[in-house]
């Protein structure tokens, strides 16, 4: 079994976010590598509904017992859903980072930005480079 799960059907960033694209809706979370590196996640701070994120902009924070990690928007778009359940149960990110531990959904404004994201293969290499 691979050390870190990197699903084939997602886009990735160099800052360890993933993006799942379904038409114009993009679900965003942090990768298995990120959650393993952070360890026990105890606090998640997410943007409010309706805020527009610019690609690359810090939009929130994930904190583990020992570390604080900024979240960077993989894509430009308006926040249309927020995983508010993580407020009470931030360890959901550790338990299921590609599923129930998702962070926000944005409405994609510029599909051309997808070309800027990493493929699963490129992201796997990026993880390997830091090991």
């Amino acid at each position: 079994m691979a050390k870190y799960e990197i699903p084939d059907d997602l886009y990735y960033t160099r800052e360890d976010e993933w993006a799942r694209v379904e038409r114009n809706r993009v679900t965003i979370g942090i990768t298995d590598y990120a959650q393993q590196q952070l360890g026990d996640i105890v606090f998640v701070e997410l943007p409010e509904l309706g805020r527009t994120l610019d690609r690359g902009e810090p939009f929130g924070v994930v904190e583990s017992v020992k570390a604080v990690a900024d979240l960077f928007a993989p894509l430009t778009g308006e926040v249309v859903e927020v995983n508010t359940g993580l407020g009470e149960a931030p360890d959901g990110v550790n338990a299921d980072c590609y599923g129930d531990g998702w962070l926000v959904v944005v409405q994609l404004s510029d599909p051309a930005e997808l070309e800027q994201l990493l493929s699963p293969g490129d992201y796997a290499q990026h993880v390997k480079d830091r090991e």
């Binding site: 360890g39 026990d40 105890v42 606090f43 904190e63 017992v65 020992k66 604080v68």
Partner: protein, 364 residues
């Protein structure tokens, strides 16, 4: 991680799947599985830490006790054989060179266990302030140090040693054998969870670790890393050099006056500290609980009514209390228990309140 030193247990950590991080020039395990699980293991059962990065400095000779008396804030000559004291090495201004534990090994012989980040600095400082008749030996490289901490520690260790462990009181030690290896066992620690620290030969480190791990298996012993060590010591409100203490900070500011022989006279820094006591320290270390949404971290500002009054020196979520806690320096006027402070977390004022420390009390 090139350029970093390794403890004699490095291979053991790798085999256990530890995440290794640089700390004080060493490659050290920060966690094995989960900081929260390791923290809970120590509070509820027992945890085993490799703290072999720490330094061991031995002072021996006819003047060793007098020299240590002049170097340390705590009384030395009155320390009985087989007992341990916590003390500070201070500079002439009263600032803290290091915080150490002192072991009285013989009439003319003491051991200082010092912070890894300060071993070389302490060695130089001590050498510069010792009489020629005192032999200073840095045994850090040939010594391993394991901390067995938590309520099950005594049950785990007792069958491995050849004497009645219950006779070793808090802050006492015995030189003995553990599974046939020469060790020094002290009832000390950095967690407020009870337990022991075990000094041995570096070449015996793996065998000592294995003996303790095997004996601990039935008691739920878990290997524990520096991450849990930090959250445990923070709950105990024990200072960490480089955070609560440094060369510019005095023991009076850090509220460690009970470890300072202020009226007994002659140790380095005593004059400055007596003058500081007269004038009143200009700031005080406080413990606080965060009551709003946010986690205090070292370097966050502490504010009252929008004005910065101090800084957080250590902050983390307390696994035992289930809320964030921290230590920080504030002016004496803001130091009273109950005082409301704001922790400035990413520009937001998060309410906190000064509380009694330690946050979590130990068995002693």
């Amino acid at each position: 991680m090139s350029g970093l030193r390794r403890t004699p247990l490095h291979d053991v950590h790798l085999a256990l799947g530890a995440r290794l991080v640089p700390f004080a020039g060493f490659e050290m395990p920060v966690q094995y599985r989960s900081i929260l699980e390791e923290h809970a293991a120590v509070r509820e059962r027992a945890g085993l830490f490799d703290v072999s990065h720490m330094g061991q400095l031995w002072l021996r000779g006819p003047s060793a006790i007098a020299d240590a008396e002049r170097l340390l804030s705590c009384p030395v000559a009155s320390l009985k054989l087989g007992r341990v004291r916590y003390g500070l090495l201070c500079n002439e201004h009263g600032g803290v060179v290091d915080d150490v534990t002192l072991y009285r090994v013989a009439g003319d012989h003491v051991l200082l266990c010092v912070n890894a980040s300060n071993t070389a600095k302490d060695r130089d400082w001590i050498a510069a302030h010792c009489s020629a008749a005192t032999a200073l030996r840095d045994a850090s490289d040939e010594t391993c140090l394991l901390a067995l901490q938590g309520p099950a520690s005594e049950a785990i260790l007792a069958p491995l040693v050849a004497f009645d462990l219950s006779r070793v009181r808090f802050f006492a030690f015995a030189e003995t054998e553990l599974a046939g290896m020469r060790v020094l066992v002290s009832r000390t620690g950095y967690t407020h969870a009870g337990g022991f620290e075990i000094y041995g030969q570096a070449s015996d480190a793996r065998a000592i670790w294995r003996a303790l791990s095997d004996a601990g298996a039935a008691h739920g012993l878990a290997p524990a890393g520096l991450g849990a060590r930090d959250t445990l010591r923070l709950e105990a409100a024990l200072p960490l050099y480089g955070h609560e203490l440094d060369d510019e900070t005095t023991p009076l500011e850090a509220r460690l006056e009970r470890f300072v022989k202020l009226d007994a006279g002659g140790f380095i820094g005593a004059e400055a500290l007596r003058a500081e006591r007269e004038a009143g320290p200009r700031r005080a270390l406080v413990g606080f609980v965060v009551e709003g949404r946010g986690i205090a971290r070292a370097e966050h500002a502490l504010a009252v009514a929008g004005a910065e009054v101090g800084r957080v020196t250590s902050g983390a979520p307390s696994p035992t209390l289930g809320k964030p806690i921290g230590l920080g320096y504030v002016p004496p006027l803001q130091a009273a228990v109950g005082t409301k402070l704001d922790v400035m977390v990413r520009g937001q004022a998060v309410p906190a309140r000064v509380v009694e420390t330690p946050f979590v009390r130990g068995p002693h």
